[in-house]
Symmetry: C2
Subunit: 274 residues, 2 copies
């Protein structure tokens, strides 16, 4: 182990209180599986002071990042791509050079089993995207912080852009040998199972269910948008989101047990109790 516990970190991102809530549950899920690595959250000024206090209790480090600096903003405007603003925010993770190896996790992921072995992988390792599996999904990826890489990706984003307008398109174009070069950089799908996977191929989902380590609630509707019944202690699934009821319930169990009791309800006006 050596000092890997201090040199390696899980990293997530929140630009507002809703995603910060996701980060709170995620952070707790990492603690619950007893990770030996640091856990870090990158925040923008969109996250309230109160929410920062909550995050402080779970995360080892809070890092404030700008959404994008003024010069970039001018360049983006020239390119007519103001939408890349948020994309750039995730890329800031490469600036975390106090760590030698990191695993980025979207704030809408949930860790079910200890996954510390991911730190043995090299940059850029990621799992296939279920929608177009020659692309990796950028919700979970292993990377190596480096200012040089940071600048290269930023320059690439500004000259080439992103084919999907988000970080996934950008990172797939930048790390464009992922699908063909090194099988070691293909994380098993169990490290980034989209919550809809039970729907797209149920027998495989059932077959591999016990092996799933990280779940990812992709799509516009996140776990915190689903209503929760406090009497029955169950979440109400919206069928059109395709999210797996079992995983949604797990998210809510963690939230209600570890986060909600010490949370000022005015911080989360978007949460609906029934």
């Amino acid at each position: 182990m050596g000092d890997r516990g201090t040199r390696e970190a899980w990293v997530t991102l929140a630009t507002n209180d809703a995603y910060a809530l996701g980060a709170l549950v995620l952070g707790n899920s990492l603690r619950r599986v007893a990770t030996t690595r640091r856990i870090v959250v990158m925040l923008t000024e969109g996250v309230s002071q109160e929410m920062r206090g909550q995050l402080q209790a779970v995360y080892d480090e809070l890092v404030t990042v700008g959404t994008v600096d003024s010069e970039d903003e001018r360049n983006l405007a020239l390119l007519g791509r103001p939408d890349l603003n948020l994309t750039f925010t995730k890329i800031h993770c490469w600036e975390l050079t106090q760590y030698q190896k990191c695993v980025f996790l979207d704030a809408d992921t949930l860790v079910l089993q200890n996954s510390d072995e991911l730190f043995d992988r090299e940059e850029l390792s990621a799992a296939p995207d279920a929608g177009w599996p020659d692309c990796f999904n950028s919700g979970v990826f292993v990377f190596q912080p480096s200012l040089e890489t940071y600048q290269r990706i930023m320059a690439y984003a500004q000259s080439i852009g992103s084919f999907d307008g988000g970080d996934q398109g950008l990172l797939n174009s930048y790390f464009n040998t992922w699908s063909t070069q090194d099988i070691q950089k293909h994380l098993p799908f169990i490290y980034n199972v989209v919550s809809q996977a039970f729907y797209s191929y149920l027998p495989a989902f059932t077959h591999f269910r016990g092996k799933i380590k990280i779940v990812h609630f992709i799509g516009a509707i996140k776990p915190w948008h689903h209503p929760y019944n406090t009497a029955t202690k169950t979440v109400t699934t919206f069928p059109e989101t395709g999210h797996c009821q079992e995983f949604l319930q797990l998210w809510w169990d963690l939230f209600m047990e570890l986060v909600q009791p010490r949370l000022d309800p005015t911080l989360t006006p978007f949460i609906r109790y029934e």
Copy 2:
């Protein structure tokens, strides 16, 4: 090239006249892109004599295979797995030892661009399944005919079975190092793009559209189940199948131009003209 044109073959399968119709369109699509390899269709007794005549005109070789022999049938009954019957039928392709290298194509696939370079790949090469991308999709795969492999897979099927009750679960369990061992055995997704992919990740679909070589109409509703309007020459898409209109239209264009003019309409009672 040498004699690869006679030693290597595309192989498909039809157990009834509906899938035979798929095979007819597929065979024509292979001719249209001027493949230099043989094209072979495996048939069971469920395919009519008239349909065999049609296939004869397009395919280099028709091979009749049994669905399953009596001894297997007894074993399957003992195992309570009569559903593996059809699964076993596809596995017969390993018996085609008159060829040294083959590419299997489901009868519900369509070749858009010449893909003869697939014969440079080794067994077992296949593209990821969009539903669970650590499994390969068994609608397109490179294999090497061998009686020994045939018997091993059959024995495996009888002892272990298939986690999805079909050939995909069986082949993924048998070739279970596919997802972790050799990136060369990961065919690019462009060789087996499910017709629903435009829906699951539209920006990637759009970005890679021009590169797509083989389309696969997975699911219960096949191109030949969609109604076709002879006046406007357009196919009516059923939205719930999620099939891409553009690809469905392509299938129908090929069918109407090359297959339908010489087809006795009584052979295809399932086809609906509007």
